[in-house]
């Protein structure tokens, strides 16, 4: 598998020192490690939300700083751990996010397809404000996935889900990404999940910390 991302000598804020790594294209890579090892920051480095102080992050062979940052984030889309939804219905949330991205909203059938992938079979007029944390997380993940990035970054996607829902969602997402040639990069502290769905696993040790 050709490598999509490669990190060399990357340090972030003198706190986290990442080991050199290659992340393959078209596969599901899981990033595991203790809290504080820089898992979430790694995802942010990959889509340019933060920049590394030293070292280089290459995406498709080019330095990540050479890409237009907004275009990069649309290609390498980060579905964060804390989810934000507007105080509106499920469908209206899709519409709001699409408006922010300057896109025409997708139709109801398509919305339902993405909700189903994320094990979020809610009515389109269900109000997000009354949903539980896990339900909101799945709706948000569905919105992110529906934006059809080339690389889908997921930060602890199953942290608020029970095992069965987590498995349904992960296996659906992985199948969808495989079919559509989307590279999947998942941060998770759930080892069982990683074992079940990872084509490739990167372990981050505690990081090298400077006191």
């Amino acid at each position: 598998m050709p490598s999509l991302f490669s990190l060399k000598n990357v340090r972030f804020k003198d706190i986290i020192h990442y080991p050199d790594m290659e992340i393959p294209q078209g596969a599901a890579t899981f990033i595991c490690g203790e809290s504080g090892s820089g898992k979430s920051t790694l995802l942010k480095l990959l889509n340019g939300i933060v920049s590394a102080e030293t070292g280089e992050v290459l995406y498709s062979g080019r330095h990540i700083e050479d890409y237009d940052p907004v275009t990069l984030r649309r290609d390498v889309l980060l579905c964060g751990q804390s989810t934000f939804l507007f105080d509106k219905s499920v469908q209206e949330n899709f519409i709001e996010y699409y408006k922010y991205r300057d896109l025409h909203p997708i139709n109801q059938d398509k919305i339902n397809t993405y909700l189903k992938i994320c094990a979020a079979n809610f009515r389109l007029d269900a109000l997000c404000v009354t949903m539980s944390g896990g339900e909101r997380q799945r709706v948000f993940t569905a919105i992110c996935l529906s934006l059809r990035p080339k690389v889908f970054l997921l930060d602890e996607p199953t942290s608020a889900l029970d095992d069965m829902t987590a498995n349904t969602m992960m296996s659906n997402i992985k199948a969808f990404c495989n079919e559509n040639n989307i590279t999947l990069i998942v941060v998770s502290h759930n080892r069982a999940l990683a074992q079940a769905y990872a084509d490739n696993t990167i372990m981050l040790a505690g990081g090298i910390r400077h006191e």
Binding site: V50, D75, G80, S82, R101
Partner: protein
């Protein structure tokens, strides 16, 4: 019309008794701001007394330098107060707020004095009180607008992060916050305009009528100053935030709030 009754200093002192009522209510409601009340009353008294002395001198010995110095001092102080109420914003943002406040305030003052009233900008009798009202209101507006803007972006951090993560431009994310803050800062002025003349005779008009100006003239001045205040509030808050919000992200479209 009769000349205004000069206040006897002892009779005048009676007004301070009203502060005791404020003090009692603050005690009753456990508002722990007694010090602030005392400090505010004291500063207000001292600052106005000083302004009175300075104004007496300037009006007797008018000179463009005095008027100019007063204007600059007032503007500088307005900027200082606004920024000290909004300490958390970054340095570039502060510079933009300072320039916006000064430029919009002074241009509205010039327009009012030179075009609408039609007197020399260095005439202290007109320029000093009118610029005080205009710049003072700009200061209140910008302070309020900045506070609302800051509180909102801090409380909506999750929304901002989520949108940024999925490739929305910082401009598109932040503009709604700018618009909302401009609206919030403008509303008090608009609401006060609605009740004006019926439930309130505004300060400037009251002052002019008390000192013997014909109500017809006083009303024209009042209308003009209210429109100027509305414009300066809108303009100063808009410029501060519209140019200022761009300091919240860098070339890599990374945000630091």
């Amino acid at each position: 019309m009769s000349e205004i009754v000069s206040l006897n200093i002892w009779q005048f002192a009676l007004i301070y008794l009203l502060l005791i009522i404020v003090l009692l209510i603050m005690k009753k409601c456990k508002i722990n701001q007694t010090k602030l009340l005392v400090a505010a009353s004291f500063r207000m008294t001292a600052q106005l007394a000083l302004a009175g002395l300075v104004l007496t001198y300037i009006l007797k010995n008018p000179h463009p330098v005095f008027t100019l110095a007063y204007l600059l001092l007032m503007t500088g102080f307005a900027i200082y107060v606004t920024l000290s109420r909004n300490k958390s914003i970054n340095k570039k943002f502060k510079i933009i707020v300072g320039f916006s406040l000064a430029l919009t305030g002074l241009s509205i003052v010039c327009f009012f004095i030179m075009a609408v009233v039609g007197v020399n900008i260095f005439n202290p009798q007109y320029t000093i009180p009118i610029s005080g009202m205009i710049i003072g209101n700009a200061m209140t507006g910008v302070s309020l607008g900045l506070r609302v803007f800051n509180e909102n972006i801090k409380s909506k951090q999750l929304r901002i992060d989520s949108l940024l993560n999925i490739g929305v431009t910082p401009q598109k994310i932040l503009i709604p916050f700018v618009n909302q803050a401009v609206e919030t800062a403008l509303l008090p002025t608009l609401y006060s305009m609605i009740g004006m003349g019926i439930i309130s005779l505004p300060g400037m008009m009251t002052g002019q009528i008390l000192s013997g100006t014909l109500p017809a003239t006083a009303i024209l001045y009042q209308i003009a100053i209210i429109i100027a205040i509305c414009a300066v509030t809108c303009l100063s808050v808009f410029c501060s935030l519209y140019f200022g919000y761009k300091t919240l992200y860098n070339k890599r479209m990374q945000m630091s709030i």
